[in-house]
Symmetry: C3
Subunit: 195 residues, 3 copies
């Protein structure tokens, strides 16, 4: 027997089978990859006021409950959210969309009113009261839940240096990292937000 | 005839053909998947001032015109953008980068000036006038266009409860949802923004 | 010798080999493809104050140094960051999370204090001083580094028109584009942020 025709025959069969099998096997591999893949979310947390403290905490605890890997990167004013005693305040200033019930439901608080010392802390107290009444968890409760849910919490090194914070000022379990740490995680994450 | 040499030959041919065909078949499968896939965008809309009302509307109507599936999730102060009569205002306060023509093109308005009652509404009127003069659509026009373009509009349940809004306060065609609704859509979307 | 049983035998061997080899080879090819892919980042830059000028510059120069393709889209107040002489200021107003060292490390500056003409520029000078002391590059240095790192800088056409800027007001090397330009790039990018 001659090997040459045999080779041609086998080659032909191999090609035909590959044409048949490859698209299906590739689809299967991609579907398997997708099914096995854990989606991920990152949030750059840059604001430290009472109102803006909520979105990162609500989004991250919800995402963690849904099975996503979540990383929060606290930088600039957002770093204050990691302080042991964060003393969060809401500011009505420059925020004409803030709706306070004491104004009869009218949207916005006149700027002059926000200027009066104590009005901002008054607004903060009112907002905290409204949230409590509506059964919304406090910021500290949500932060605790994030930690229990294995949300990865990273404090920005540069901000720590700039504002002269030490790890001792922060709640336990915080990692220190920089922009490169964030980018590495974000490049592998489906949802990346800057709050 | 002995099967042994045949097996080695088959094995060799299979491996060689596979090396040849696989990269091309994977490219084809991925290109097919991409061609069939509709890209998607989500925006979490959290601000309710005149200036910040524009980016979500411009981005979502442009993306929809380009064939993307777009979902807007209105929460916190952003929920006011769904009100039947949104009465949007711009605030010059705490925003030194705002350039108003009445100041001879100088960037920023002194904070004390913004404190004078009526200055913020004056700034809003000026901005609306500038936009009209430049042929930029009004917020209400863009919102209408978003609805016509099948942009999915979701109002945050928690914010509705907190600020005591009902569906009756909102324009028609709004869905109600929570953070989980958002995360489910965002995990499948190419572009996710928080405005 | 009859060809028929031989063909069936060969076919069977080919199939078995393929079943064995394909999953692993496909995984390898997909992993190789991923390794060859250059990840990308886009940032919509909408703020023009000293503090908010930093995050886009730090993130984009870090990402570029890590090998990502980076595109910055400057719109609204963010367009001022592309001016030849940007004159950036920080505002303490409405930002109770701002920690200034002159207040003994207490977080927040009373709003009334920010109202005094000159206090915002004082705050800006203090922040610039703090950053210099900590060895943090100035905004202009970071912007120069972004250009050297081939970060793609796009100025929003609509904002240019609205605020009556011309290319001559901007630093050299800036592209002009609209929301569609942004969406096209963002739909192909792993990290998309709105700052």
């Amino acid at each position: 027997m001659d090997a040459a025709p045999n080779t041609a025959l086998i080659d032909d069969l191999v090609r035909r089978r590959l044409e048949e099998l490859l698209p299906q096997k590739i689809e299967e591999a991609l579907a398997r990859r997708e099914a096995e893949h854990t989606p991920a979310m990152t949030i750059i947390v840059t604001k430290g006021t009472l109102d803006w403290a909520y979105p990162p905490m609500i989004l991250s605890t919800t995402a963690a409950a849904m099975g996503l890997n979540v990383t929060l990167f606290f930088t600039f004013y957002g770093l204050t959210l990691l302080l042991k005693d964060p003393k969060l305040r809401v500011s009505a200033l420059g925020n004409p969309a803030l709706k306070m019930p004491m104004m009869g439901g009218h949207i916005g608080m006149p700027n002059l009113m926000s200027m009066i010392p104590g009005v901002d802390s008054g607004a903060s107290a009112i907002m905290k009261g409204m949230m409590k009444k509506k059964g919304i968890a406090s910021f500290e409760e949500l932060r605790g839940l994030a930690i229990e849910s294995d949300v990865r919490l990273i404090a920005c090194q540069m901000t720590m240096d700039l504002f002269e914070y030490t790890l001792d000022d922060l709640i336990p379990g915080i990692e220190i990292g920089g922009a490169a740490t964030y980018i590495e995680v974000a490049a592998q994450s489906e949802i990346n937000l800057f709050i």
